[in-house]
Structures are given as C-alpha cells and as structure tokens.
C-alpha cells in the first residue's frame, strides 16, 4: 500500500524534469498516443455514449497513461511514478462505501454503477463559489441544509474578513478559513441539521497553513466531514498540497482529491480529457490516499460542464470508472448562466443526468461559471438534486435523448449566457424561498422537464 512517506520518497527521487517538459513533452503527447491506440472517438451526435467497450478502453488508456507519465511534483521538479501492481492494489483496496456526518445525518456514500437505481450522493451548495459576507454565507448554507436531498454541504468561499479582502497564505486567509468552518456549522445548526457533513473542507483555505489552522476542533470541523484537496492540471502536486493530505490523514479524515482537467487544455479534446480524468482518479487514490474523488472537468472556452462535448466527457469517464472500479466519485458541475434563468436549470439538469446515469454521484454546483460574488442561491443545487434522484436508474439511451432535448434549450446561447440575478434579488432569506419571479421560472422549467419525460417534485 502506497503511503504518504512513499509518496515523499517518490517525489524526492523520481525522474527530474522541468514542469513545462512534463506537460508538453511527456503528458500531452502520451494522452494523444493513448487515444489513438485505444481507438477512442467523440461522437457529437450522441452526448451520452452507449458503447461500453469504448468506456473500458478509456479506462485502460487512463491506467496506461498514469503508468507511463506518473504524476509530477512541482516542489521537487520530479515525477512520481507508480507500478501497475501499486495502481491495481490501490484500486482494489479503495473503499466502496464511506460514512459521513453525525447522528441522524450520518449517511453512507456508496459506489454506483451505470444505470444504478441508487440515488446519487448529493453534495450540494456553492462548490467554493465566492461569497462576500458572513450574512450571504449563512443564508446560502442554511438554504442548502434545508434541501431534503442534501447528504452533505459544499460551502461557498469567503472573500472578505473584517472588511478586508482575503490575501493568500496571510493571517486574513487563516481567519477567513476558520470563519468558514464556524459559519458552516452554525448554518447547519440553525437549520436543525447539526450532523450534516461539510465535504469541501475548507473552501476558503487555499494555502496549507489556512487549511491546518481551521481544523482545530474548536472551529467545529469533524473527522466525519470530507477533506477536499485539489491537484493541478495535469496530475501535478506540490508540497503544500501534500501537507494538506498529511494533516487530514492525521485527523482520520476522508480525503477527496478534486481535479479539473480542462477540455481543450493539456489533454486536448474530449477523448483525451476523458482519458486524463480516469488517470486522475487513480492518481488521487495513490498520491493523496483519497477515499473519494471529485472530478470537475470544465470547458476551456465556456468554463462550464454543460456544453455537448463536456457532457460526453462526464458520461464517458463516469462509465469508465464505474464499470471498472468501485471508486466513490462525485462529479462537480458548473453552468454558464446565472440564477433565475431557465438556462441555468437546464444546464445543470444536463450535467447531472450525464453524471448520474454513468454511475457517478454529484457535487452541485458552480453557477454562472462560479466567478461572481453572491450569484448563486439554494435553488440551483436543489433542482440538481431533484434531477439526480429522478434520473437514477435511467438507461443511457434514454439519458441521451433527454440530454439532446436539454441541449436544444441552451446550446445556442452558450456564447452569451444570461447572468441572471444575484442572491438577494431572487432569494428571500427571511422566508427561505425563491422570489415570486424565480418561482415562476422554476414552474416553467418543471413543465418543460415534464415535457421531456422527467417528473420532478411539484413546487410548493
């Protein structure tokens, strides 16, 4: 079993090379070589692929990619390579079931299969989206905790503390990360869901020092929460991220590596991006000892997961992983459009359908590319979860038709998506529900979904 000391040994003694050479001369050509060798082809007409043998090829290609290139440590300037035995052993030993949360909210995240009727694990919230104030943070997280399908919460990230904008790796970031922990727990307490796990711990902590500082028990984090640690595209880590892993492991926390190979980035087009995603899954299990994984591939041009080729990537890599492993994998999705627009709801519906029918669970979501402060509400993750539950058990062929129907509603607008409204323009924090205007948008959206064959929960 590969452990953190083994990773450090590999990181200190691996093959030396420049980061640029790793990316451009090793990783990028090797991905394309694997795509060619395994005959992987993107099919524009079918955003939800139904060729299981190709999904298996994607899996094998991803495995070979990791074995051929290894990961890369930017701190030591060396590759971190693994043997096939190490990879296969780590996949065999990875858990197929994990418990998160406390008391009534303690639930099991389980591995799913293609077309599985088991509802997806719903990690709901803002996916680390920027949030300007304690008030907005509490309003959002209380809203997320009230969603019936919420299994765990993904908080926003605070951008200010004490009236000052956060600076990385500074006392401001340390204080903001601690406040992130305290406020998240407080919001769940206010909603009466004291035991609900926070699984993007800690969104506000980009640096290792802020991460470690906010994990002191007095700020309320628990070992039953989920500890999310990102890697850099493609398959790159550094000592700061490995520090986070060492700290989370020392707490007994479950680490989830999040990774976002860009479609159009180092892995190239949709085929290479699917292969790269598979390799990242395995790299996460080995490098961070991740017991759950969080792919969040986004499109280089649209910064979202809803374009046609992105849906294909989500489904293809999801099928590859769920057909060939029992890994616990949750897909995080981004929309281009903002709250209070039908487009935003259609976009998240398409991405969630692609993920859930392929055997993945979901983290949902980053709204309007997740870049605008306070431009998200509890409605969008709630709708994502309703869709996730509704499409669980759906066959890939039916999911393909549904997604094609959804694409017709937004694909032509991806270049200029509506930004919609900000939090308090379309969410009533006191009444804890959307404004009348947003309510109408949701009603219309649900009618359209019914026309597409998906019956969602009637709106109150």
């Amino acid at each position: 079993m590969v452990q953190i000391l083994d990773i450090m040994d590999k990181a200190l003694n691996g093959k030396p090379m420049s980061e640029t050479d790793y990316q451009l001369k090793v990783f990028a050509p090797k991905v394309q070589e694997k795509v060619r060798e395994h005959g992987i082809k993107f099919d524009r007409e079918n955003p939800i692929p139904q060729d299981s043998s190709m999904a298996d090829e994607v899996f094998e290609a991803g495995l070979e990619l990791l074995l051929d290139t290894g990961a890369f440590c930017t701190s030591s300037g060396r590759t971190i390579t693994f043997t096939e035995q190490e990879v296969r052993e780590s996949l065999r030993r990875a858990p197929s079931k994990l418990y998160f949360g406390e008391g009534q909210d303690r639930k099991a995240l389980v591995a799913r299969t293609v077309g599985d009727k088991t509802p997806p694990w719903c990690l709901l919230g803002a996916g680390g989206g920027p949030c300007s104030s304690d008030r907005s943070f509490l309003t959002l997280v209380e809203g997320y905790a009230e969603i019936p399908e919420t299994n765990a919460i993904t908080t926003p990230a605070l951008t200010r503390v004490g009236g000052m904008r956060v600076r990385p790796a500074s006392p401001l970031e340390v204080l903001a990360a601690q406040r992130n922990a305290v406020l998240a727990r407080e919001a769940c307490n206010r909603a009466g869901r004291q035991g609900i796990p926070i699984m993007n711990s800690l969104a506000t902590a980009e640096s290792d020092i802020a991460f470690a500082a906010a994990l002191h028990p007095k700020f309320g984090m628990r070992d039953s929460d989920g500890y999310m640690i990102c890697c850099m595209d493609p398959m790159k880590v550094d000592f700061a991220r490995l520090n986070k892993a060492a700290v989370a492991l020392s707490l007994g926390g479950h680490i989830g590596m999040c990774f976002g190979p860009l479609l159009g980035g180092y892995a190239g087009g949709p085929e290479g991006t699917a292969v790269s995603n598979v390799a990242h899954h395995m790299m996460g299990v080995l490098t961070y000892q991740s017991s759950w994984l969080l792919p969040f591939t986004i499109h280089l041009r649209y910064v979202a997961s809803s374009p046609r080729d992105m849906l294909w990537v989500i489904s293809m890599m999801g099928q590859a992983i769920s057909r060939n492993t029992h890994l616990l994998s949750l897909n995080l999705n981004y929309t281009t459009a903002g709250p209070c627009t039908p487009m935003c709801l259609f976009e998240t519906s398409a991405s969630v359908t692609a993920a859930v029918t392929a055997g993945l669970s979901i983290e949902s979501l980053g709204v309007a590319t997740n870049k605008h402060e306070d431009r998200t509400t509890p409605v969008e993750p709630r709708i994502s979860a309703e869709v996730g539950h509704a499409v669980a058990g759906m066959k890939l062929a039916d999911a393909n038709e549904l997604v094609k129907g959804l694409l017709k509603k937004y694909e032509s607008k991806l270049n200029e998506p509506p930004l919609g409204k900000s939090l308090y323009e379309c969410w009533d924090g006191e009444a804890r529900k959307p404004t009348k205007e947003y309510h109408k948008v949701i009603m219309r959206y649900k009618r359209d979904m019914r026309d597409l064959g998906v019956d969602l929960r009637p709106e109150a």
Partner: protein, 216 residues
Amino acid sequence: MSADEKILKDLQKAVLGYDSKAAASAAKAAIAAKVDPLMAIEKGLVPAIEKVGDQFEKMEIYLPELMLAGDAMKSALALLLPLIPKGSKGAKATVVMGTVQGDVHEIGKNIVASMLMAGGFNVVDLGVDVKTTTFVDEAERNSARIIGASALMASTIGSQKDIIDYLVASGKRKKHAVLVGGGPTTKEWSKEIGADGCGMTAVEAVKLANQISKRR
C-alpha cells in the same frame, strides 16, 4: 520561389509545425541572408502564429499546440528582435506577466502569454506564485509597459490589487499599465482596484494590450 520567400516560408512552417529548433535555424538563415528582420517577423512569423491563435480560438487545436507554437515563435524572436532598432514600428511593448502570490494555477496565464506572443509582444513570463514586489521589480528591469496579473482563486485576486497599490505608493503607476485576468476576475473588480483592463478571454487580453501599446 526566391531565397527570401523560402526563408519566410521556413519560418512559417516552423511555427505551424510547433518546432523551436527549426524556427531558430530559419531565423539564423534569415540573418545570414540579410533578410530585413522586421519583414522576417511580420511576414514570416506573425501570419503563422496568428493562424495558430485562430485555430486555438476555434478549438481546432489545443493548449499544448498553442504553447509549442509560442515557444517556436520565441526562439526565432530571440534572434531577430535584437536586430530591430528600439522604437521602430514593428516592436511592440514588453509585458511581464505571472500568476499572483499564493496562486499556483498557470493554464490561464500560459494561454494569455502565448496569445500575446502571437500578437507580437515581448513576453516575460514570471511563472506562478509571484510576489507583488517581483511583478514591479521585473517590470522596471525589463522596461515593461504592461504588467499582466493572473489569479484563479477568489482568495488570491486580492494580490492583483496589491500590485496596483504598490505601484501607486511607489510613484510608478504611470509607467506600467496593469491588466488583470483569471477565473474570479470581473470587469467590476478591475474597475474597483483601478486596473487598466480585465481580459475576460485571452483574445480580449491581447486587444487590451494592443490598445495600451498604441497609447505609448
């Protein structure tokens, strides 16, 4: 085909083939044949790199090809640019750029750097996790008209403001235009911190850099 035309073709071919060595040897051939270096850049390298930029925009090629073409362009420029007198019409501004302190994300920065290079700018890439003072010191050292500061995280864009504040406090603000960009950066943020522009896309960043370059 004349000897000059062949050299221009070789320069183009090297960039379109993502081949740094071939680009350098074509540039050496241009110098040996006494081809006007400005013509070698404008009629050899620029049309090729513009084509690459266009293909990238349409997603006909991807990031690795864009960066390799940028490297090829850079290898040839390293030989040709010193031969062009300063201030002549072909020489565009120098841009120092990097990802801000505390942020190690480099893809967005790499795309913009390659596209700026494609646009004929002299780009000094400072890498990632670049200190505020390093941006300013390197801008001074390279006589850069433009500082490009990229940030991907909501927790790191504050460092973009620090660069501008530092320039103001040290009396150097008028010497260096500051362009910001990256995931959480918006036009509102750019205005709030007093930046000279915000490139929401790489193409927009190049357009802004061109406007600033012309204002010199």
